[in-house]
């Protein structure tokens, strides 16, 4: 049995084909032209667009090389593992994620003389696959009105019973906290870390909720007196009209200045193993540690530059006031190998599970 297509059917099929073409043009075509722009650099990052986009724009303006980025809020390593070829450069807020990526064979050596010359060895990975362009202290924020810096010495104070019901903190499972708990574990051992975390959880004024700035806000509202947050938030809060009251209600304390030093979080930059755009991608990484870029980054983010001698924002210079060991905002850093921190993540998560950290108090 056979019949020919009627005019009406023909029109409908034409419409359907046109619709398919339309969908193809809308959905697929925008991404098809990327192969025609070999000089484009593709960046995958979990850092915020506010901080990176201005740097990328400046780079594109200077070199005419466009940068396309995907700003992931979560699952950076998962994405890198599943789609290793989609990016040339990976930039993270926590270099221990790059340590994990490196151990999974997702990165390639930087092989950059410029980076080796400029970035101190302690801010480069031993295998040469990634480096840091900035760092920030993961420090104690305290209430300016209700706490004296003389009452504080180290991170262990957070677990002291005298602060019961007066400590706030974000989720223990957040990368920032996993990182410093991993450093605590590296320094003090598993049993001691478990005790520290149990006591810290017992001191919490409320269930871990919100981000670092929410904790500063809680201090300003009197909900608690101490928290652990990244040092740059003080600068960010003070330079924002909405958040200034939170910054003004808090002060930064650099713990353990008589001992190992304060824990820091390193940002990280690397080349993906699968990139074929090595030369341009490497140039971008070298651009990130130029003096001008370092100054720009520091001014924008209030993070500390890794290159010695670069100027710091005035707000950073005033951090740690009242601490005799801290001069001009320069503090002692406790150096824990990233490999150790990355290896400790699993142990820390298990401890957090066992003590129900996020469900306390």
């Amino acid at each position: 049995m056979a019949r020919t297509m009627t005019t009406g059917e023909l029109r409908r099929w034409r419409t359907a084909v046109a619709a398919c073409c339309g969908v193809w043009l809308c959905v697929l075509a925008p991404s098809c032209d990327r192969d025609e722009r070999p000089a484009e650099i593709r960046v995958i990052t979990d850092r915020t667009e506010d901080h990176l986009a201005p740097i990328f724009e400046a780079y594109t303006k200077a070199t005419k090389i466009p940068i396309t980025a995907v700003y992931l809020q979560e699952g950076l390593i998962s994405r890198l593992e599943s789609r290793p070829t989609e990016a040339d450069v990976v930039i993270t807020k926590d270099a221990d994620l790059l340590e994990i990526a490196s151990s999974k064979g997702l990165l390639q050596p930087l092989a950059s003389r410029r980076i080796e010359q400029v970035v101190p060895a302690k801010y480069r990975s031993p295998d040469g696959t990634f480096f840091s362009d900035s760092y920030r202290g993961r420090v104690i924020f305290y209430s300016k009105d209700r706490v004296s810096p003389n009452d504080l010495r180290s991170y262990d104070d957070l677990a002291d019973p005298r602060w019961k019901g007066r400590v706030c903190i974000r989720s223990g499972y957040h990368d920032y906290n996993l990182n410093i708990f991993g450093q605590v574990l590296a320094k003090n051992g598993e049993a001691s870390t478990r005790t520290f975390l149990e006591k810290l959880a017992a001191n919490l004024a409320r269930r871990p909720v919100g981000n670092d700035r929410d904790q500063a806000k809680a201090i300003s509202e009197g909900a608690c007196d101490l928290t652990v947050a990244n040092s740059y938030y003080q600068g960010i809060m003070l330079s924002s009209s909405d958040q200034r009251p939170w910054g003004e209600a808090t002060r930064v304390f650099f713990p353990d200045q008589d001992g190992c030093g304060s824990y820091v979080l390193l940002s990280g930059l690397a080349l993906t193993k699968a990139t074929t755009n090595v030369s341009a991608a490497r140039e971008l990484l070298e651009y990130m540690v130029q003096d001008s870029t370092q100054d720009f980054t520091t001014k924008l983010t209030y993070a500390y530059p890794v290159i010695a001698g670069r100027p710091m924002p005035e707000i950073n210079r005033q951090l740690g006031q009242g601490q005799p060991q801290v001069h001009d905002g320069v503090f002692r850093i406790c150096e824990v190998p990233l490999k150790t921190i990355a290896a400790n993540r699993e142990k820390v998560i298990r401890i957090l599970d066992e003590i129900h950290f996020d469900q306390r108090p």
């Binding site: 697929l28 925008p30 506010d50 396309t68 269930r207 599970d353």
Partner: protein, 521 residues
């Protein structure tokens, strides 16, 4: 069109079968990926550890929050439901106003309440989810009420008992099946929620999955947990669906003849719907609108219009393409069902799409991420991953279930003779199916299309996992701002998303309030 029929085998029927098998395979693929990836370590050390520590608490919390959200949504929807039952001054306005929470995703409501009022905890989450999902209950129950034949009301009138209380006592039980269906929908949406729970720091199953997975940054560790989450979501979904589709729940009272006209309220009774709707109006409409509009006015001059425009385009691509995909896939499955062909295939496909809907979107997004690994080095895989296709496909196939269930429900109104006629004349292809059944399914399907469009426009979890380079939806942008404590700066984006949703919402409202005998179906 030419087609060949040899020994009774219709080429178009065969191609229809092949197409439905292919689409079924596409729906099964992410579930199979989860099973294959998670199975090797399923009984390794992680799950026993979680079972001994946080998993029971998270499960209990998920169940409690989901059940609480159902109760809250039904209670908050009561004012809107009365709008469908009675006539009173301002009923049209109130019924529309109470649907407006659908324009804002629940996770943004959570962000807003957390940012402005410091809300946190299970109580706040239940309230937020109740506010966000109450319009769904209102829509489904109102539509069911409008399908009730007028003879019920005629009987009451003849007995002289046409007062509002008697009308409500008689008619509300008839809408119970719709209420049960809406409750199930709300339960699974609440169960799958991740954004609102995470914002309000409630340790539900999805939040636990997020913590474990991304805390470890290790797919091998996360996969068994994702598989467990899938099983915990899918098995109850199948059970509840089987219960719902038993005889007494297959739809509300069937409409035969004229549908019932709403009864007029008089005296102080006119205030009752307004009083019942007031909490939803305040918490889901007036307060969010006040905050978002005031933030927008304050920041309008700093808005980057180019970025906003591009984000709008990206969101529209996802929402439109995803909705179209979901509708087409559902139609293919419906056609097989209406033609009474491939009963096993039909039964399997229904369960598979239900499973895809029941899985938390975060898990589904990760399944699609794993489904196309670039490790094989295939160039087409890398190319595919650089497009929005995986994102659209993941969302489209997830929401196919909503189309399918709505279509199945609509087909129940159609006499079996319709399908028989098509079979007898050998016109069992998709085009003929659509042509014949369009009058019966067009209304519910277009309403569902509006609903799915809104849901896809507001998607966060899948978009965050699968967004390609240079592709940012409005929801992703708002989430970025929220993460960096710049919630007021994202107000313009959220307002734009809400404005885009106004037309589909108006269509939805019209579908729910126009009686079937006066509407398209």
């Amino acid at each position: 069109m030419r087609y060949i029929s040899i020994n009774g085998l219709d080429a178009r029927a065969i191609s229809g079968k092949v197409l439905s098998i292919l689409l079924l395979a596409a729906c099964v693929a992410p579930l199979a990926t989860l099973a294959v990836t998670g199975a090797p370590d399923f009984l390794g050390s992680l799950l026993p550890h979680l079972a001994a520590t946080v998993l029971p608490g998270q499960l209990a919390m998920s169940l409690a929050v989901s059940a609480g959200a159902v109760v809250a949504a039904v209670a908050l929807a009561s004012g809107g439901v009365l709008c469908g039952l009675f006539r009173f001054p301002g009923d049209w306005l109130l019924s529309r106003l109470l649907l407006l929470p659908l324009l804002v995703p629940t996770w943004f409501l959570a962000v807003l309440y957390q940012y402005r009022l410091g809300a946190a905890g299970a109580g706040a989450l239940v309230l937020v989810l109740g506010v966000g999902f109450a319009p769904l209950v209102q829509l489904l129950v109102t539509a069911a009420l409008r399908s009730i034949p007028s003879r019920y009301h005629d009987v009451l009138r003849n007995l002289g008992r046409a007062d509002p209380v008697s009308v409500a006592r008689l008619l509300l039980p008839l809408a119970l099946p719709a209420c049960a269906a809406a409750s199930v929908l709300v339960f699974f949406l609440a169960w799958a929620d991740e954004g609102a729970a995470r914002t309000l720091a409630v340790p539900t199953l999805t939040v636990g999955l997020y913590d474990q997975w991304f805390g470890r940054q290790d797919d091998a560790q996360g996969a068994p947990l994702a598989l467990a989450t899938m099983l915990l979501s899918v098995l109850p979904a199948w059970g509840i669906w089987a219960w719902l589709t038993r005889g007494q729940f297959r739809g509300t009272a069937r409409l035969q003849g004229r549908s019932m006209e709403p009864v007029r309220l008089r005296g102080p009774a006119v205030l009752v719907p307004w009083a019942l709707g007031a909490p939803l109006l305040a918490a889901g409409v007036l307060y969010p609108a006040y905050v978002v509009v005031s933030w927008t006015v304050a920041r309008l001059r700093w808005v980057d219009l180019t970025t906003l425009g591009l984000d709008l385009i990206d969101s529209m691509i996802v929402a439109l393409a995803g909705t179209a995909l979901a509708a087409v896939v559902a139609l293919v499955f419906l056609q097989r069902e209406a033609m009474a062909r491939d009963r096993i295939l039909t039964a399997v496909s229904t369960r598979v799409v239900l499973a895809s809907f029941a899985i938390p979107p975060l898990v589904l997004g990760l399944a699609w991420l794993w489904m196309f690994p670039e490790g094989s080095g295939a160039a087409w895989v890398a190319w595919l991953n650089s497009t929005p296709v995986p994102l659209v496909a993941a969302l489209g196939l997830r929401f196919c279930a909503v189309f399918l269930v709505a279509g199945q429900s609509a087909l129940l109104r159609v006499a079996r003779a319709h399908g028989d006629v098509l079979r007898v004349v050998g016109r069992t292809d998709l085009v003929s199916f659509v042509r014949l059944f369009r009058p019966f399914v067009a209304g519910p399907m277009s309403a569902v299309a509006c609903l799915v469009f809104l849901a896809l426009l507001q998607d966060l979890s899948v978009s965050l996992v699968l967004q390609p380079f240079g592709f940012t939806t409005i929801s992703s942008r708002v989430f970025q701002y929220a993460q960096t404590q710049r919630v007021p700066d994202c107000a313009v984006w959220m307002l734009c998303q809400a404005v885009i949703g106004v037309y589909p919402l108006a269509r939805l409202a019209r579908w729910a309030t126009v009686a079937p005998d006066r509407g398209s179906s």
